[in-house]
């Protein structure tokens, strides 16, 4: 473990100030829950960090008629205690499984996106909600879908001098049922072996539409298109989706690592779909 005392840390109070520092070679620092661990373990490190926690645009959380915008430096705990948590149960369900209370108070949603871990609990609801990433740079802003912003493990489409300003979440129509479960060695402070989140619209006992997102079973969070289509018209009750578990497993591309084997992840992903049917049928 290395000391970080050679670092300089700028604390800009404006978006434009932050963008200029980043364009000049600075690296962004928000809650530090991942970055500080990584910096202390690595040989090479940036000379200058740019702390983003003082910038009003990045600290804002606003809820409009049909959508919400969450500033990149808003913490998970702040989102959980905001009115948005009641409006979007899937966001509450997923964010409340991140780390423990202290990690949730420090870590930010923008940091979760920037890290682009395939296991990120915070990304599952964002994929389900078809979130857009709002980016700010020296020459202006752009918005792109999260699913194209995230390229692979730790890889994002962020240009030099750009920063993640906020996440834009369009509210889903109607009142879908929502499901989130992550499987790991214990419930708190774990990185998922596999996780599954879903939004399910049901009419007259049958699924009218479904969105499914899987974590830790591919290089990025995955929306299994075949399974989403196959769910339409199906009933929700214990055991009702057992035949789709294999189809779901086929859509995954997991790896072996220290937490689990690829085969186990594939199997767990299928089991989570079966569990979803039972859990949601009890919820109605």
């Amino acid at each position: 473990m290395r000391t970080l005392e050679g670092l300089s840390i700028e604390r800009p109070a404006t978006l434009v100030g932050a963008v200029e520092l980043l364009a000049d070679g600075g690296q962004p620092l928000a809650g530090g829950t991942d970055l500080v661990v990584r910096l202390r373990q690595s040989e090479s490190r940036p000379r200058r960090l740019v702390y983003l926690g003082r910038i009003p645009e990045l600290r804002a959380l606003s809820v409009e008629e049909g959508s919400a915008e969450i500033g990149a430096a808003v913490s998970h705990a702040e989102i959980l205690s905001s009115p948005l948590a009641a409006r979007l149960p899937i966001l509450r369900q997923a964010l409340s499984t991140i780390g423990g209370p202290a990690i949730r108070a420090m870590g930010t949603l923008g940091g979760n996106v920037a890290n682009a871990s395939p296991a990120a609990d915070g990304l599952i609801p964002l994929y389900l909600l078809d979130a857009q990433v709002r980016l700010a740079g020296l020459t202006g802003e752009r918005e792109i879908p999260l699913s194209s912003f995230v390229r692979g493990p730790g890889a994002i489409d962020l240009r030099s001098g750009e920063l993640i300003r906020s996440l834009m979440l369009p509210f889903p129509a109607g009142t879908p049922l929502s499901y989130f479960r992550k499987v790991g060695r214990r419930r708190a402070l774990v990185i998922a072996v596999a996780s599954l989140g879903a939004l399910v619209w049901e009419t007259q006992g049958k699924i009218a539409q479904a969105r499914v997102a899987l974590g830790s079973v591919a290089p990025t969070v995955l929306r299994p298109a075949h399974v989403e289509r196959a769910l339409v018209g199906r009933e929700l009750h214990a055991g009702s989706l057992e035949d789709l578990a294999e189809l779901l497993s086929e859509e995954t591309r997991p790896i072996d690592d220290l937490r689990a084997t690829a085969a186990y992840r594939r199997q767990v992903a299928g089991s989570l779909l079966v569990d979803m049917a039972e859990t949601l049928s009890n919820q109605e």
Binding site: I9, R40, L49, A77, M106, A188
Partner: protein, 155 residues
């Protein structure tokens, strides 16, 4: 950098490298070794302190994170020579064995009772999920927090 913050109710000004961890600042520069370093990477909760009332891991927080904030450590719990009711409850319930996780558990429990003065057993378990104890187990800790909650509110 010139760092100015409130520490256990006292205005504190130090000149330190901005990458200095809050943990090292507290333990080494300011003589408050109550906050412990367990894992040093945010997995164990032994270094939990409060920053503006929020539970915070001092091993992951840099000096730059606490500029202008109010920080409360385990040394700030006792007032005027009297242990805090949570500390007394930990003693009464035998919620301590080696004691290394205790400051972090106390601070996390304190943060919980500030937010939720009457937690259920389940809520206490959920809130302390980020604090690991490797010797005695958690039941005595949970009993202590529940009894402190029943006894009185945090000052």
């Amino acid at each position: 950098m010139r760092l100015e913050f409130e520490l256990n109710g006292r205005r504190t000004v130090v000149n330190i490298p901005p990458g200095r961890r809050l943990l090292d600042l507290l333990r080494e520069d300011l003589g408050l070794p109550g906050t412990k370093e367990g894992c040093g990477e945010g997995e164990c909760g032994a270094c939990t302190v409060l920053v503006n009332g929020q539970p915070t891991l001092a091993c992951l927080a840099l000096a730059a994170h606490v500029q202008g904030t109010a920080v409360c450590t385990v040394e700030g719990l006792a007032q005027a020579g009297e242990l805090h009711p949570l500390q007394n409850a930990f003693i009464e319930h035998g919620a301590v064995q080696c004691g290394f996780c205790t400051p972090g558990l106390l601070m996390a429990s304190y943060a919980l009772l500030q937010k939720n003065p009457n937690p259920t057993r389940h809520e206490v378990r959920e809130y302390l999920a980020g604090n690991l104890c490797r010797c005695t187990g958690y039941d005595q800790v949970i009993d202590a927090v529940l009894s402190a909650a029943k006894g009185q509110r945090c000052p």
